[in-house]
């Protein structure tokens, strides 16, 4: 027990130096070297495709198709990125649509999901666990299967090829995640705070709104960022529900670039990088909650 109170390092030397430290094992040092090399190899393999795509986006068209491939020796150019943002770019409108769809669907999922998560966290409801599990299991449905009836439904409702239709689908798609993620955050806020506020004369709703809500802001922000990323990256619903070039989102616009007989890989690479960078920035902002985020709020550590 006492060793835990001792400052770091002292414990290794034994209490009052009575025991001699065991001789350092040689194999351990060698093992550590191998570990570092292995880790470095994994790192190179994992990062190479990203670096390669960035390089491709920065090369001029002749260097892209050079054989053997030019890894370092090329003159960087921003031409492809200029093409992405130019007025006759085939993908620029897609980016605008993606921002609209991701933004609104996140807003709807948050507005509907946070109160629901609070209710699930605070109240004793009938078969609460089953309800929560049911909600999460809707998220596991294969998108290609769900899109068949949604397609027919949207055809009847004239929602095909429209942004509001896609916004609704993404809201429903993000809602299970928002509820689960937020329930975790709300469970961490003691219910006693609300009870104390209610003793002071607040109603239950006011206690939620004025006491708990301000404490949830960071959690809501993190949850919303994940919902943004999921909507932004989603691909299957977007290609099936929208085919109109004016309303399609960035993923289907970018996928459209490889449809023709000749592919402008420079433009594809620049579009893909432009598409990926915001996600990486956002993901970096919420890295503390990444485990909960990528498991749809199911695993919390």
């Amino acid at each position: 027990m006492a060793t835990h109170i001792q400052p770091e390092g002292l414990a290794d030397k034994g209490i009052a130096g009575e025991t001699v430290a065991p001789p350092p094992r040689k194999e351990r040092k060698l093992g550590s070297g191998i570990e570092i090399v292995l880790l470095a190899i994994f790192m190179v393999v994992m990062l190479f495709p990203v670096v390669w795509m960035l390089e491709t986006a920065l090369k001029d068209t002749r260097d892209i198709y050079a054989v053997p491939a030019k890894v370092i020796s090329f003159t960087p150019t921003l031409d492809h990125f200029k093409n992405v943002f130019s007025s006759d770019s085939p993908v620029f409108q897609g980016f605008i649509n993606s921002v609209i769809v991701a933004g609104f669907s996140t807003l709807i999922a948050t507005v509907l999901g946070v109160p629901a998560a609070w209710a699930y966290s605070r109240f004793a409801l009938k078969a609460k666990k089953d309800q929560l599990f049911f909600i999460l299991s809707t998220r596991f449905m294969p998108p290609v299967v769900v899109v068949i009836p949604v397609f027919l439904m949207f055809r009847d409702l004239n929602l095909l090829d429209t942004l509001p239709g896609l916004i609704l689908v993404y809201s429903a798609f993000n809602l299970p995640f928002t509820i689960w993620m937020m329930k975790g955050f709300i469970d961490e806020v003691p219910a006693e705070y609300e009870e104390a506020a209610m003793l002071d004369g607040f109603s239950r709703f006011e206690a939620f709104w004025r006491v708990t809500m301000p404490l949830l802001i960071p959690g809501i922000a993190a949850t919303a960022v994940f919902a943004l990323i999921f909507s932004w990256n989603e691909f299957v619903f977007s290609i099936f529900l929208i085919t109109d070039p004016d309303t399609r989102t960035a993923p289907s616009a970018i996928a459209g670039l490889i449809g023709g007989t000749t592919i402008d890989w420079g433009l594809v690479a620049a579009s893909a990088m432009t598409f990926a960078v915001p996600v990486l920035v956002f993901a970096f902002l919420v890295r503390k909650h990444l485990v909960a985020g990528v498991t749809l709020g199911a695993v919390r550590r």
Binding site: V50, W52, L125, F140, G201, A255, V279
Partner: protein, 317 residues
């Protein structure tokens, strides 16, 4: 003794504080029950509209010979669609393809992801930065990942073949050669999702209490012993969660197939999801595709139930 007791203050201030309530009880009409309904129903309504109702519709369609492109009516044909799907040779082949893909990809991801997490957990310096860099592939959209790799695996000017060429090996048709195309899909999926397993395994590894290792150190336990008896048993439950999650997602794989191979060559990379898509949007046999879809939903639901029950048991511990 008695003099220690204070006399109560003469002009009692309690009455004042009790008078006006500090906050107006606005929204007091919302009882707990009403509030719960008000908060949960809108969320449920959206799910009902876009998740549950479509599935019921799908179920209904699966018993008919409805076609989305035909305006004429449709007939009720009971379980004919299900019989057709379940006895179809093509579906069996696609199911096998999907199974190979799920086992191959998730297996590789688990081994690699756990290895990387284990290596990272033994480092002290630069752990945060290393982890962040490793996580990049996972955050990318499947469309971006698919395009990255389609370009890199290109026969003529792909960088992979370029490397192989300069090393003296021949060029390889990664995405257009039978057998190899499915392997390429496994590789790409592994590239994207190894970080996922790694992230969760790392969460498990860092949660293993240090004193267990210290105790083992005192007993001069070998590294292997420590791994087998301390690290692995404690990380395993969390790792299993990650593996199940990945398996469900891999079963639904569609986007990578759509971008990388389009199901080819000769249908060898067609997963069940991709096959459903072809039946529904090229064959326009909506009824058949619905039955096909319902069967997939059943498989996913059973898998998801296993996953959620296990998760529940883990959380209650």
């Amino acid at each position: 003794m008695a003099n220690t007791l204070q006399t109560p203050p003469q002009n009692a201030p309690q009455a004042q504080t009790l008078e006006a309530p500090p906050a107006a009880r606005r929204f007091a009409f919302l009882t707990d029950r009403k509030l719960a309904l008000l908060f949960i129903l809108p969320a449920f309504a959206l799910l009902l509209f876009l998740s549950i109702w479509p599935l019921l519709w799908l179920l209904g369609l699966s018993f008919t010979d409805y076609s989305a492109t035909r305006d004429s009516g449709y007939e009720f044909i009971a379980f004919d669609n299900y019989v057709t799907v379940l006895t179809s040779e093509v579906v069996h082949a696609r199911a096998l393809t999907t199974l190979i893909f799920v086992v191959g990809a998730v297996g590789l991801q688990t081994i690699l992801g756990f290895t990387i997490a284990f290596l990272i957990s033994r480092r002290i310096k630069g752990r945060g930065a290393i982890t962040t860099l490793f996580l990049i592939p996972m955050m990318l959209s499947p469309i971006v990942v698919g395009l990255f790799w389609k370009f890199m695996l290109d026969v003529q000017f792909g960088v992979v073949n370029s490397f192989l060429d300069s090393l003296g090996f021949g060029r390889v048709e990664w995405l257009t050669q039978q057998r190899l195309a499915l392997f390429s899909l496994v590789i790409v999926d592994t590239w994207q999702w190894t970080p996922f397993i790694m992230l969760i395994a790392l969460a498990g590894l860092t949660a293993v209490p240090k004193y267990l290792y210290e105790a083992a150190e005192i007993d001069r336990a070998s590294e292997w012993f420590k791994f087998r008896r301390i690290t692995f048993p404690l990380v395993w439950p969390l790792l299993l969660i990650a593996v199940m999650f990945r398996a469900i997602e891999a079963f639904r794989l569609f986007d990578l197939v759509y971008i990388l191979t389009g199901g080819g060559p000769g249908g060898t990379t067609e997963t069940l999801s991709f096959n459903v898509y072809k039946v529904a949007f090229f064959g326009f046999d909506t009824g058949l595709a619905s039955a096909y879809g319902i069967l997939m939903v059943i498989v996913v639901t059973i898998a998801a139930q296993f996953y959620l029950r296990y998760l529940n048991r883990l959380q209650e511990r």
